[in-house]
């Protein structure tokens, strides 16, 4: 059984850090579905939200512990099973004629956090911010109009936990009970 995991990491804001993190994922054969990185609450550190796809149960511990071993990485928390909020933003350029533009706006009104951000004679650019499922259902509805370009930020997430994570924080799902095949 494989699964999708959401990992939050605090990393040094230094040249090459992204390379080190990406290199570890590639080399260990983990599949990054999305990676978002930006400034964090601390000036010299960035926060990353990494969504990893197709993680076999046996590798749950590997993903987090290998990431934790990267010297520039300060905190690693697999928050998938915690209470957390997650959002992504998408900018969607859709073909829009005079006739179809009204339909597109109607669809947009069905979604929270969605709006038109730019209009041209033959296209509109829409923005939506929300959970992944919401972004995907909007995309499905827009598909018939013709999506010309799409830019998604990838997921950004924060746990709702009130405790302040410490330097060196490590949270991974506990593995309990021996696996019959031992890994």
């Amino acid at each position: 059984m494989t699964m999708r995991r959401v990992i939050s990491a605090l990393v040094h804001d230094r040249p090459g850090v992204l390379n080190r993190v990406a290199s570890m994922f590639r080399r260990r054969g983990f599949n990054i579905a999305s990676l978002a990185v930006g400034h964090s609450e601390r000036p010299e550190f960035s926060r990353m939200t990494i969504v990893v796809d197709n993680v076999p149960e046996s590798a749950l511990w590997q993903v987090t512990s290998q990431l934790w071993n990267v010297v520039d990485v300060v905190e690693v928390m697999d928050i998938t099973d915690e209470d957390y909020v997650a959002r992504e933003t998408a900018l969607i350029k859709v073909r829009a004629t005079q006739e179809s533009r009204g339909h597109i706006v109607e669809i947009l009104d069905l979604f929270r956090g969605a709006e038109v951000v730019s209009v041209s004679p033959s296209t509109v650019i829409l923005e939506i911010t929300g959970p992944t499922e919401q972004v995907e259902s909007l995309l499905a509805l827009l598909e018939p109009f013709g999506i010309i370009e799409l830019m998604r930020t990838g997921l950004v997430a924060l746990t709702k936990d009130e405790q302040v994570p410490q330097d060196g924080e490590f949270r991974a799902p506990a593995l309990v009970g021996a696996r019959p095949n031992r890994v």
């Binding site: 090459g16 290199s23 071993n69 490590f170 031992r182």
Partner: protein, 573 residues
């Protein structure tokens, strides 16, 4: 605090001096020249000019493994730096602390495809624990302090420091070498185990009827040999070393088993097959140990003591992980582990020992590699420092050079780097000048790095090289014999006349073609006050047994057909 105005190159030398480094291995070149200019002023740092950067990296590794200290190697930018890479990979796999210092093109030239520019920090990410590109001279002491700290802490490994030429030339105020590492919030080695984990592990050990310990390199790193022995004796648990854990438990102890795994003894593999608990102390469960995971120790629960949390559950699921330094973890376990006799289990282990001996095959005329190694073992009383290459001779050395000395068996395990045997032996010898160092070489591996013989001559490092000359990539030949119907492809490695080669390098050269001359050659080498090369012309058709083919289990283990016909009780150990 005001300090002296120094150049970046001097910052490096000051840092090395403050770390107590007295031996470094390297090769100069354009980008690193400012450092080489300053190193002349630091006579306490002895620089060994190797003939190839690979040699510098392996020498630093051999030095580090023999002494337990951090090894240091130096290279220039571009080709020099990437020549280090195989050495870094070797150290990385085998948990060896190394600081590699490389020159880089000047800061303004970086990214311009400048002469001898290579993105060295980029190239070495997968073979280092961490690396640095230093962009100001002032930063050098902090970076060096961190580099040494990271290299030796947690699971040891190589750290590379890349220094642009103009940073080495930059004049700045040197205010001293930092005493503490203050700015590494992302590097928090777990030194002390969680008591909850310790308790769970102790319970499992106490409940076990047929436990066995697998002792890895982590025991040597933690210097926990005494604690390991206490645990084994208190709970009466037999001990199996990994290839890199040889010497972590005395080979002459009644609880000592012998190597397990692909080329471990049948006896050890059968013990693991029957055990109901396997206590891994400081090993990462390499696939050459476990074979097919589903069939590995099928009846056993697993206790895993390791300082690296990523080693836990990596290859084998641990029922009771204990994350921490092996010494601390063993000390925490000891009071909770019950004294037990386990007589039934130990007598079963002894039966297996008798039924599956490791016997040295005798040949008339030409000696076998096993025989030569056995004689070296006996004539050095098992007290020499052994460095090996990779291949058949390596496996026989591991099987037959049984020792009770920590850190005295030095071999490339995880990467299996041929050519390691020559420079690493030099490094080990220079780190342990009062020990006898024997390098058990393959004829092919020896030819990969033999240029370091000149360095060895210059340094007068009295290494005894014993080339197990089968004129072949013996281990490749073995696989082609067993798995490719003897379709031999590209395995003839006939070299030069090694005796003349020895003479060309100003060393004593001896050739042995007959079994009756083995002893006298070894003794002559021991008596000779300087480096020696013995060219042992050994049996070619000898295969390493037992063998568990890659990815298979003890059920598919092949024992030596010859050994099985021998009378019981002839145990070579």
């Amino acid at each position: 605090m005001s300090g002296r105005m120094l150049a970046g190159g001097e910052f490096v030398c000051e840092s090395l001096q403050a770390e107590g480094v007295d031996l470094v291995f390297g090769v100069p070149g354009g980008a690193i020249l400012p450092l080489y200019d300053h190193i002349l002023k630091y006579p306490s740092i002895h620089h060994v000019l190797t003939r190839h950067e690979q040699g510098a990296a392996h020498a630093a590794d051999g030095y580090a493994r023999a002494t337990g200290k951090v090894g240091v190697c130096i290279a220039t930018s571009g080709p020099g730096a990437i020549n280090l890479a195989v050495g870094l990979g070797t150290s990385f796999m085998d948990s060896t602390p190394i600081v590699a210092i490389t020159g880089q093109v000047t800061r303004p030239a970086i990214g311009k495809d400048a002469f001898q520019e290579t993105d060295v920090t980029g190239v070495t990410i997968p073979v280092t624990k961490h690396n640095y590109l230093v962009l100001s001279a002032e930063d050098i002491p902090r970076v060096m302090k961190e580099a040494f700290h990271i290299a030796r802490s947690a699971r040891p490994g190589p750290v590379l420091v890349d220094l642009p030429r103009d940073v080495l030339q930059e004049i700045a105020e040197f205010t001293g070498y930092p005493e503490t590492v203050d700015d590494l919030p992302g590097f928090r080695p777990i030194t002390h185990p969680d008591p909850v984990q310790v308790e769970a592990a102790a319970e499992m050990i106490n409940a076990a009827k047929k436990p066995v310990i697998l002792a890895g390199r982590g025991v040597l790193v933690a210097q926990a040999e005494k604690e390991l022995q206490e645990l084994a004796e208190k709970a009466q648990i037999p001990v199996i070393p990994t290839l890199l854990g040889i010497g972590s438990f005395p080979g002459n102890h009644y609880l000592y088993v012998s190597l397990m795994g692909m080329h471990g003894s049948a006896f050890a593999n059968l013990v693991v097959d029957e055990c109901d608990l396997l206590v891994n102390v400081g090993s990462r469960f390499d696939d050459r140990i476990i074979g097919r995971v589903a069939d590995f120790a099928p009846n056993a629960k697993i206790v895993h003591l390791n300082i690296d949390r990523s080693a836990i559950h990596q290859n084998v699921f641990a029922d009771a992980p204990v994350i921490g330094d092996a010494k601390n973890s063993l000390n925490a376990l000891l009071p909770q582990v019950e004294k037990q006799a386990r007589t039934e289990w130990l007598s079963r282990v002894d039966d297996l020992r008798r039924e599956h001996p490791l016997v040295v095959r005798d040949f008339a005329g030409k000696p076998s590699t096993q025989y030569v190694i056995k004689r070296i073992h006996e004539l050095t009383n098992g007290q020499a420092f052994i460095v090996t290459g990779v291949g058949q001779h390596q496996m026989w050395a591991a099987q037959h050079y049984v020792t009770d000395r920590p850190n005295s068996f030095i071999t490339s395990g995880g990467l299996g780097t041929m050519g390691y045997e020559v420079p690493a032996a030099m490094g080990a010898q220079m780190g342990m000048p009062n020990e006898q160092v024997w390098s058990i070489c393959g004829d092919a591996g020896f030819q990969m790095t033999l240029q370091e013989l000149a360095t060895i001559r210059d340094e007068n490092a009295p290494v005894k090289f014993a080339i197990m000359n089968n004129f072949h990539h013996g281990m490749v030949r073995q696989w082609q014999t067993l798995f490719y119907d003897k379709r031999y492809s590209q395995i003839n490695t006939t070299g030069p006349d090694f005796v003349k080669l020895a003479e060309a390098y100003g060393m004593l050269g001896i050739r042995v073609e007959d079994i009756k001359d083995v002893d006298s050659a070894i003794k002559r080498a021991q008596d000779h006050n300087g480096p020696v090369i013995i060219d042992f012309l050994v049996e070619i058709d000898e295969l390493v047994y037992p063998m568990i083919p890659a990815g298979q289990s003890v059920n598919e283990m092949v024992e030596d057909p010859w050994t099985q016909q021998q009378p019981l009780g002839t145990v070579a150990r």
